[in-house]
Symmetry: C2
Subunit: 199 residues, 2 copies
């Protein structure tokens, strides 16, 4: 299915022109970013935890120490909202009000399933492969104890939405007379020179 | 005060060596990043909304359309968790298990106050000045209608914590024999060539 169904939680209340339920658009964002922010309710209040993640098919996977609070809450079936955001640029307008940011974000609602022991190694290998294709064959694979210490959780990519802004500032014509630079300063996460481990 | 007090919500359960309550460290992160993820409980479940933000003194400010869900919930006194994360690098280890990410993050808990009309213009000006110092004097200032349409909310930087990882992979000595590149691939958000608005 190429679109996510709209639900009460993913309905766009405002600015629907910036929103979509397009699965391919969501997957492109998820496959480019590295950090997800996982929101949970803990002790009655919201908690937002940043974590690495990866996508396998129609699931978004995260991992963590089996003893961590995030893993324990999710494994117990906590409802979550997982948001991934890419910042694409600063939008500089002629009026203060029209300044904005260009971004692409995905919001996923749902509960995670605990990836079972038999599947876990392959799931973690997919993460290493995402970081650097071919690498899994070169590194030491996880030991049984390491696998036990790590939990992998998989969110279904079923109830999700995409929001984005792109393009130049939207100044009204009356503001074009202001003699100030206007446009977009593009921002992008770039890799620097690799830093080899001295050991 | 140079440290945030530890509370039950900000206590580090695991890996306390990666955590701190250092206010200066938190402010350095907040002054470098551009996007915050705001977690709320809405209709009984968690929601995580990405938004731009800025810091003024000991407050973290966000703004939004007065009619937006985020603004309405916060203005009504909703408890929030605001998390800001900078990704600094991919940590490539000799073992699958020791792969990691270098990052710096701040987690802030609390309720926002609604910035009053008299303060609002100065608060928004501080955001424009953060984006580009001196710019506020050059752009068209907000009209009364624009100010009414925009709400500004301020979170106290009181209950907060910092988490970070830096440095090379932590492979045990036994794994140093694996003939695979190990080290850090640094990542950083960089500005590209400015794109002037054609208008």
């Amino acid at each position: 299915m190429t679109s996510f169904p709209q639900t009460p939680r993913t309905r766009f209340v405002r600015a629907p022109k910036r929103g979509s339920y397009d699965r391919n658009a969501a997957y492109a964002i998820l496959d480019e970013a590295w950090v997800a922010h996982v929101g949970l309710v803990a002790d009655g209040g919201p908690v937002v935890i940043p974590t690495s993640y990866w996508r396998v098919g129609d699931e978004l996977l995260i991992h963590g120490a089996s003893s961590s609070r995030l893993v324990r809450l999710l494994a117990a079936g906590a409802e979550a909202c997982v948001t991934v955001t890419l910042l694409d640029g600063l939008v500089m307008a002629r009026s203060a009000f029209r300044h904005s940011m260009n971004y692409r974000s995905v919001m996923v609602f749902g509960r995670a399933r605990v990836v079972e022991a038999a599947e876990k190694e392959a799931a973690l290998a997919a993460f290493i492969e995402r970081v650097s294709p071919g690498r899994m064959a070169e590194v030491r694979p996880p030991s049984a104890a390491e696998l036990r210490a790590t939990s992998v959780l998989a969110f279904p990519l079923q109830e999700a939405s995409v929001k984005m802004r792109s393009g130049p500032p939207t100044d009204p014509d009356d503001d074009l007379v202001f003699p100030v630079w206007a446009g977009v300063i593009p921002l992008r996460l770039r890799a620097g020179e690799p830093e080899p481990d001295e050991r």
